[in-house]
Symmetry: C2
Subunit: 331 residues, 2 copies
């Protein structure tokens, strides 16, 4: 489980490298002595933020390009020993308003990445950031990796299609691919300007801007909010451990909490903020999935991963980060 | 189970209407008195063939357009009470040589169709022709509709993604969608010029042209070849029965036969032809799935569908059709 030695001097590429997960991973990899290249398209309204690499600007290489740019990707994947592929369209609601950008990024874009690796660097290991959204409205709780997927939005369907692409390129073309199905993430370096990419982080922003939180419905649904540091450890283990190749792993907190209790805890830890209950807006209600919890036994047994950050501790670190850096995350 | 009365006077649209399944369905619908419009892009090398509608040319309307053409589709879906959506990229091997056309047709194109129905005709019932390829290398045999999909080629992954689109548009937007997972089809009005869209039909063509059949490996894999007439009956039932809305059904022959025995039966029924065993070519071996059989109990119980055509009978009708029409199906 000591990733430090493994990553020293390794050439690592991260797509979506200026976003929340990508940049947190970059900070860990720099600590471990890796040679890190960050790819990001800096798409307006998504999570990319130059502030996310404050302190490691000189230690990493940043290339602004899109995973859908085949020529650019062919060049970038060459020479990378590990590729942490995190870039993607991640808004559930946007994918339902207009499915085509999601299809273009999460289906076609992922195929561009895989074709590039197949052509230019088939020896690289590629770790793909998938999502609990593939389970959609879960057909059993907790879900295991063999629970039948039941996506309820185009985002979930396309992320699932891309999972299959990664498996297919592993099976048919010999690529070394690993899939992580990430649950609701929260923590440092996330965007807090819009509710589209994680409600909890949107609420953090509302609290810090002194605005009231609106909870849809009664907030009784269970969620497993997973801290960024725990997620980045899962990526490091998936990139290192030979047992991970060809596998799919759930990555989620071991605690579940009701949505309304998450909100109360945010207010408690922040020491400020207020909320109200409002009816479900139609576009959210249509894709609400009910209770969710993931069984993470497989990644525990095979890679030794466990979540280590309790919810309250994670929230304290989160608020500390945004209070120190708020000007870079609000308009 | 009497489709005749139900379809009389109904406005029915068939995408891929000049292909094998679409045209066979059109012949049945015309018999039943439906007002039939056929949509087809006549894409070179795919299955569209004007000969397929010989005898019903005056009874159907034909519009040459692509399901990816949003403006055209918006116009065409308006007014259709039923849409049998069969158009698609269907070559497993092509999807592995170049994934992008498959993604463009089977992901984006299906979303164009669904967005058109959502915008212009949300009351229509849409029956989607999916495929056993979503099961890929089956994780259990026989597969049921709740067997975990395991596609081994991009075609299977994209057809599965589109299945989810149909479910999602049903759940979120109230569309009336039905999904049929079709097994290896064979029969009348299929193309026999290339092995890309069904090996059995390619073999039929080889026999009729006096060319030798090559069987890859030992031919021991089990398949469930399903006759076109049985498939078209499944479409008619799925379009008519209220119980079908929101459902996914396997559609396959009840008999399984080893690949090599299928070849022997072809030669026997045709009264001509020869074959040889050759090693697997790499591009086929990579996506070979082993034995396949589908449990069709669900569509039997809910819609009363059963395969009715034995394999030998289906082959006799197939050879009879091509002997009468060979000039229209070979170059």
């Amino acid at each position: 489980m000591s990733a430090e030695g493994y990553y020293r001097g390794r050439k690592v590429m991260i797509t979506g490298g200026l976003g929340c997960l990508g940049s947190n991973l970059a900070h860990r990899l720099v600590e471990h002595g890796a040679e890190v290249t960050l790819i990001d398209n800096m798409q307006e309204g998504h999570g990319a933020n130059r502030r996310n690499i404050a302190g490691i600007e000189q230690a990493v290489k940043v290339d602004i390009c899109d995973i859908r740019d085949s020529a650019a990707m062919l060049g970038h994947v060459r020479g990378a020993e590990l590729i942490f592929h995190i870039a993607g369209q991640t808004s559930h609601t946007d994918s339902m308003k207009d499915p085509f950008p999601d299809i273009d990024i999460n289906c076609r874009g992922n195929a561009v990445l895989l074709e590039s690796v197949r052509a230019a660097n088939p020896e690289a290991r590629v770790v793909y950031a998938s999502t609990r959204a593939v389970y959609g409205a879960p057909l059993q709780v907790p879900v295991t990796e063999s629970t039948l997927p039941n996506p309820v939005d185009i985002y979930g369907a396309d992320k699932l299609a891309a999972e299959h692409y990664f498996r297919i390129y592993g099976r048919a073309h010999g690529l070394s691919t690993v899939i992580l199905r990430l649950s609701n993430g929260y923590g440092t370096r996330a965007q807090i300007r819009t509710p589209k990419y994680g409600i909890l982080m949107w609420f953090v922003g509302l609290i810090l801007r002194g605005e009231k939180i609106r909870v849809f419905g009664d907030g009784a649904q269970l969620r497993d909010y997973t801290y960024t540091d725990d997620m980045t450890r899962a990526f490091l283990l998936a990139g290192e451990n030979p047992a991970a190749v060809g596998k799919t792993y759930n990555v989620a907190a071991s605690e579940q909490i009701r949505f309304i209790d998450m909100v109360k805890k945010l207010v408690e830890v922040a020491g400020q903020g207020e909320y109200e209950l409002v009816p479900w807006p139609d576009d959210y209600k249509k894709i609400e999935v009910g209770d969710f919890a993931a069984d993470c036994g497989l990644i525990g047994r095979e890679l030794g991963w466990q979540p280590e950050t309790g919810f309250e501790q994670g929230l304290r670190e989160t608020f500390e980060y945004y209070r120190d850096n708020l000007e870079f995350y609000v308009d």
